[in-house]
């Protein structure tokens, strides 16, 4: 939908005859890798947005490079729960080249991911939401507290293992 490159080649998804090849960097990933940044190529998503895996330690560097490349609009920060680990997914948009790029950062054992607020102030509320619903801690966020749930809520509702076990909750169960 929103890419200069043609839609994702589905060959990446369906297994080829032999063992799946390692996914190659797209044009953006290649450009970033050439700058000496450590990235993992994750191919394109179904719509055709390039997806890059970035480790926690490299996130700020990659983010800065992307912002300097023209990705000036932060669309969203989504928390993902893959049961074993949490992941922070950032969608960026370039108002110069009209491309969208996805950054995926696996949180460490303590569910901590560096905050992107110093680079895109727009990340503020999105990271608060991700913290609130998924329990990912954003290191360096100026004001990390709950945003959608009440401030005294227990647990992070979007986690897969979340149970409504707050004893204060009384609602009409049929």
């Amino acid at each position: 939908m929103s890419d200069a490159s043609p839609p994702a080649n589905k060959a990446d998804k369906t297994p080829a005859d032999d063992a799946p090849e390692p996914i190659q960097h797209g044009p953006l990933g290649k450009a970033l890798a050439d700058k000496g940044l450590t990235l993992e190529a994750l191919g394109d998503d179904a719509v055709g947005n390039e997806t890059l895996g970035v480790a926690c330690a490299d996130l700020l560097g990659v983010a800065k490079a992307l912002r300097d490349d023209g990705f000036d609009l932060l669309l969203s920060v989504s928390g993902m729960d893959y049961k074993e680990y949490r992941q922070s997914v950032t969608h960026l948009y370039s108002t110069k080249t009209y491309q969208t790029v996805t950054l995926k950062t696996d949180a460490g054992g303590d569910d901590t991911v560096p905050s992107l607020v110093p680079i895109w102030p727009a990340a503020d509320w999105h990271e608060r939401e991700s913290y609130d619903l998924m329990g990912i801690h954003y290191e360096g966020h100026p004001d990390l507290r709950r945003i959608l749930m009440p401030i005294d809520w227990i647990g992070h509702p979007l986690r897969k293992d979340y149970k409504e076990e707050d004893p204060r909750l009384v609602w009409n169960r049929r």
Partner: protein, 450 residues
């Protein structure tokens, strides 16, 4: 509201640069006291359940913090327990003023995941619905914006036109606001016969109505005084807060997904992206008013070029095709089991006939690939699809693990980001400017809280 004002912690004159406020000079000799006003959660002009904890000094806003979440209905959690089709009706409620857009991002994400082809007629119907929905959304905005400024009549006028368009929606989807109409690879049902003419009738009328609105509001000195130079934002501010949509276009940047990343069939229609450079409330007003006219222009082109034309003609065509297909089937049957006293048709002729048999073009259909909604399973993968909703970029991040239920659905609501800029626009302005500025951002709380 009944608690006493707290003691001032920070006097007005301690705050640096406070006297440089736009158009407002503060008498430093006065010993004034700050007052915290809780605007909302229930307030006539917060357009939903939003609470703005505002510190004011006299009428000047010193600080503001939006408190959201009063309308949180866990739409993202709901996706985990429901199949794709089962979840679909609930997303009408994410942004109920233009819910065709919600459906469109959701449906296109799934179509991208499952690699479904969509006929052109479907895209055209979807585009008509979406553009009409943009008009209804902007109309509601126009009415409530002027109501916030204090004018009552335009609200009713806007609702009158909105009602006419809702009637069209009711005709095609069966509902006035909660449509649940788009499907994976198609739409729920074809437009009813004569619907295209009805649409044409309504949108032919609209420009005259818009002229009336503009006669009332456009150059009204009170509207101009309250809007011009109020809530000015720079393009960099908007980027910093992730604000998109008409607010961004009011800063002179023609950022419109319909132009920059043409989805659906937007590269087949001709339209302009209205922009203004001032970046104030008035610029946003003008941009939205111009966008409604552009939407009408788009709908006119779509109506003229609709593949298959009106559904009455299409039904006739379908019937003819069905008749031919029946004849061929009968002939084929006769080839194999010829009756007594009857000459069996030549098998080669029948084959040629079958070859030449007209088939309804793919573009004319209202569903692409048939999808069994009960057991629909897109392959594992993820998609982030976006659309230019009336409020800005609306995104849906959909992760599928190959089961009938979505692993994760994340909504990127335009209002959620647009709301973040409000405090920085408000600080230093007057309290009544809040209504103009907040109104001009066109925020809808269900989309913020989801």
């Amino acid at each position: 509201m009944t608690t006493a004002s707290p003691a001032p912690e920070l006097s007005l004159r301690d705050k640096p640069g406070f006297s440089d406020l736009q158009g407002v000079t503060v008498e430093h000799g006065l010993n004034t006291q700050d007052m915290v006003v809780n605007i909302g959660p229930q307030h006539p002009s917060t357009h939903g359940v939003l609470r703005l904890v505002t510190t004011i000094n006299g009428e000047i806003v010193k600080d503001m913090e939006p408190v959201i979440g009063y309308l949180h209905r866990s739409k993202e959690k709901m996706a985990e327990g429901r199949s794709y089709f089962q979840y679909q009706p609930t997303i009408d409620r994410v942004e109920y003023l233009s819910s065709f857009y919600d459906h469109y991002v959701y449906v296109t994400a799934i179509e991208a995941l499952a690699d479904l082809k969509v006929p052109k007629r479907v895209e055209y119907i979807r585009m008509i619905c979406m553009e009409l929905n943009r008009i209804t959304s902007h109309l509601l905005w126009f009415g409530t914006f002027l109501l916030d400024l204090g004018a009552t009549s335009p609200f009713f006028y806007a609702f009158r036109e909105r009602e006419a368009i809702f009637k069209l929606f009711e005709d095609i989807t069966g509902a006035r606001m909660m449509y649940n109409y788009f499907r994976f690879g198609g739409v729920n049902a074809d437009a009813p016969p004569g619907w295209l003419d009805d649409v044409r009738k309504v949108i032919n009328e609209l420009p005259f109505r818009f002229d009336e609105y503009e006669a009332i509001a456009n150059k009204n000195p009170i509207v101009m005084d309250r809007c011009i130079g109020v809530g000015v934002t720079s393009y960099q501010d908007l980027l910093d807060y992730g604000v998109t949509g008409p607010s961004m276009r009011a800063c002179g940047v023609a950022q419109d997904m319909r132009k920059t990343n043409p989805y659906s069939c937007y590269n087949e229609v001709e339209f302009d992206v209205p922009t203004a450079t001032e970046g104030d409330v008035y610029a946003r007003y003008k941009v939205r008013m111009a966008e409604m006219r552009e939407s009408i222009r788009i709908v006119h082109q779509l109506l003229d070029n609709m593949p298959g034309g009106d559904s009455a003609e299409l039904r006739k065509l379908e019937k003819e095709h069905a008749k031919v297909a029946e004849e061929i089937a009968a002939a084929k049957k006769r080839v194999t089991v010829a009756k007594k006293n009857e000459e069996a048709p030549n098998a080669a002729d029948v084959a040629k006939m079958a070859e030449k048999a007209p088939e309804l073009p793919f573009d004319y259909r209202t569903t692409g690939q048939k999808v069994n909604l009960m057991v629909f399973k897109p392959p594992a993968g993820e998609a982030f699809s976006m659309v230019e909703s009336p409020r800005g970029m609306l995104g849906c991040y959909l992760v599928s693990d190959g089961t009938p239920k979505a692993y994760r659905v994340k909504w990127r609501g335009a209002s959620f980001s647009n709301l973040t800029i409000l405090p920085s626009m408000m600080i230093g302005n007057l309290y009544p400017d809040l209504m103009a500025i907040f109104g001009s951002l066109d925020i809808i709380l269900p989309e913020v809280d989801r």
